[in-house]
């Protein structure tokens, strides 16, 4: 249990759950961007590999008072990740400016201890070697390595896009450590037709997310466990916010 490291830059995601309609565009964009193999049978939710997964939330009331919400769940890039300290081989770290939790699959030995530690189920194991239909491997992007069976992987906030943004900054003679708002966004952020996802440096007042996380309707998942996630959710609906954490009956909803 290493101490929390503070960073000057903190890449954060803010997802407006009132704007998410659960279309799955983010999930498709994520898979294509990160070279996740398509699954012929994606129905097994306990084996289907998703860096980003859209959960369906219900207010639990019977018809006609029923309400529904969708919650996209990337890796939370926790400020105090439960996965990092447990990895026996330093395959996952939180050591880079920006606070993205890395996952180095060539180092991973596949013990799955990190998966046991993560309460968000953000980590996925390659139970089989990835398979693409003949020819479809030609659509692999050069940005993210293809993972073999036997290793754990997870959302990286499209880290390769951060590196690309930095390279562009170098080429243009700008400071790569001071990226303007929007110079680096994740694939899901970009793909969402509703604009439900915002992304940026939450520490930087020039970035939109800096203000968005201060919303009284903002909350994070399982905050009371002390993971300090870098993904915020926003909803004006109290029942949605209450599903963001575990509450005893008498406790008021935060946010």
């Amino acid at each position: 249990m290493s101490a929390t490291q503070e960073f000057r830059i903190k890449w954060g995601m803010v997802i407006d759950l009132d704007k998410c309609t659960g279309c799955g565009s983010c999930m498709v964009a994520c898979q294509a961007e990160n070279n996740v193999a398509p699954a012929e049978d994606g129905l097994n939710r306990r084996r289907a590999l998703n860096w980003l997964l859209v959960y369906r939330l219900s207010n639990g009331k019977p018809f006609p008072d029923h309400d529904i919400a969708y919650l996209p769940r990337p890796c939370m890039q926790c400020g105090k990740p439960s996965c990092v300290s447990v990895c026996p081989v330093v395959a996952t770290t939180k050591d880079e400016e920006g606070g993205i939790v890395s996952q180095v699959t060539p180092r991973c030995i596949g013990c799955r201890y990190c998966m046991a530690s993560c309460p968000y189920h953000a980590r996925y194991f390659n139970w089989h070697d990835p398979v693409w239909p003949a020819g479809m491997e030609k659509t692999l992007t050069p940005d993210v390595s293809v993972r073999p069976r036997g290793v754990v992987e997870k959302c990286t906030f499209c880290h390769h896009r951060l590196m690309a943004a930095k390279d562009r900054a170098y080429a243009e003679g700008r400071d790569p450590e001071k990226l303007p708002d929007g110079a680096y966004v994740t694939s899901c952020t970009e793909a969402c037709p509703n604009g439900a996802i915002s992304f940026g440096d939450v520490n930087n007042p020039e970035h939109k997310v800096h203000e968005l996380i201060k919303s009284p309707y903002a909350f994070r998942l399982l905050e009371r466990l002390g993971t300090d996630p870098q993904v915020w959710y926003v909803s004006r609906r109290e029942w949605v916010r209450r599903l963001g954490d575990n509450y005893l009956n008498n406790e008021p909803t935060k946010g």
Binding site: T93, E96, V104, V146, H160, M163, R168, Y170, E177
Partner: protein, 211 residues
């Protein structure tokens, strides 16, 4: 106890103490020597195959004779990507006609320029898919904040000397890596050097070099 002594006694009679000790140890030392020869000499040779470049390219001709600047062929594009090795089409900007009479030029022109085929260059410094490397931050500008590298010095820091004839390429039969592929500890000569952490944006975070 008596039993035991009885059973070992006949052996003692067969060979003398001295002889026994010698013939006893010899195979052991032969084994050591064989293993050392295999491990240090045969094994490294067997591990790699050798390949020659499809075209005998020399930087000397291009830099010193033709007077090209490195950036002419290897440039950082405006989006920060690195153009790496030029395509045949790009080479053909100059090589649209035979330049000189060397065999290499003839091969290049006949087999690649004319049919418009790409050369399957062997990359000495080839990195695997799981490594992210960008030339953009490893620039003269960045490094010379503190160092005083010349352009060649900086390039040669990582790249094998290709000044004259292109060297033979050795590929590891098991891992598929080039013999000259930099291993992590070599990158860490700079990346894990504390002096670099202050002066540049370089650091040794895993995701700086892995993808």
């Amino acid at each position: 106890m008596e039993d035991r002594q009885e059973s070992t006694a006949p052996q003692k009679e067969v060979c003398s103490r001295f002889k026994c000790r010698l013939c006893g140890v010899a195979p052991f030392f032969v084994g050591i020597v064989v293993a050392l020869v295999f491990g240090w000499w045969l094994f490294p040779t067997l591990m790699f195959n050798s390949q020659e470049q499809p075209v005998q390219f020399t930087h000397d001709t291009h830099v010193n004779v033709a007077g090209l600047d490195c950036n002419y062929c290897h440039k950082i594009r405006p989006d920060g990507t690195f153009s790496a090795i030029p395509t045949t089409k790009e080479c053909a900007v100059c090589h649209q006609v035979l330049l000189g009479e060397s065999r290499a030029e003839r091969v290049f022109w006949d087999e690649y320029v004319r049919p418009g085929k790409e050369v399957a260059w062997l990359i000495y410094q080839k990195q695997p898919d799981n490594v992210f490397f960008s030339h953009a931050p490893h620039s003269l500008e960045n490094c010379n904040n503190c160092h005083e590298f010349s352009k060649t010095e900086l390039c040669l820091f990582c790249h094998v000397n290709v000044k004259d004839k292109a060297p033979t390429y050795h590929e590891n039969r098991l891992s598929g890596y080039s013999k000259d592929t930099m291993k992590m500890w070599q990158c860490e000569r700079c990346h894990a050097n504390p002096n670099h952490l202050a002066g540049t944006a370089a650091n040794n975070a895993c995701f700086v070099c892995h993808k």
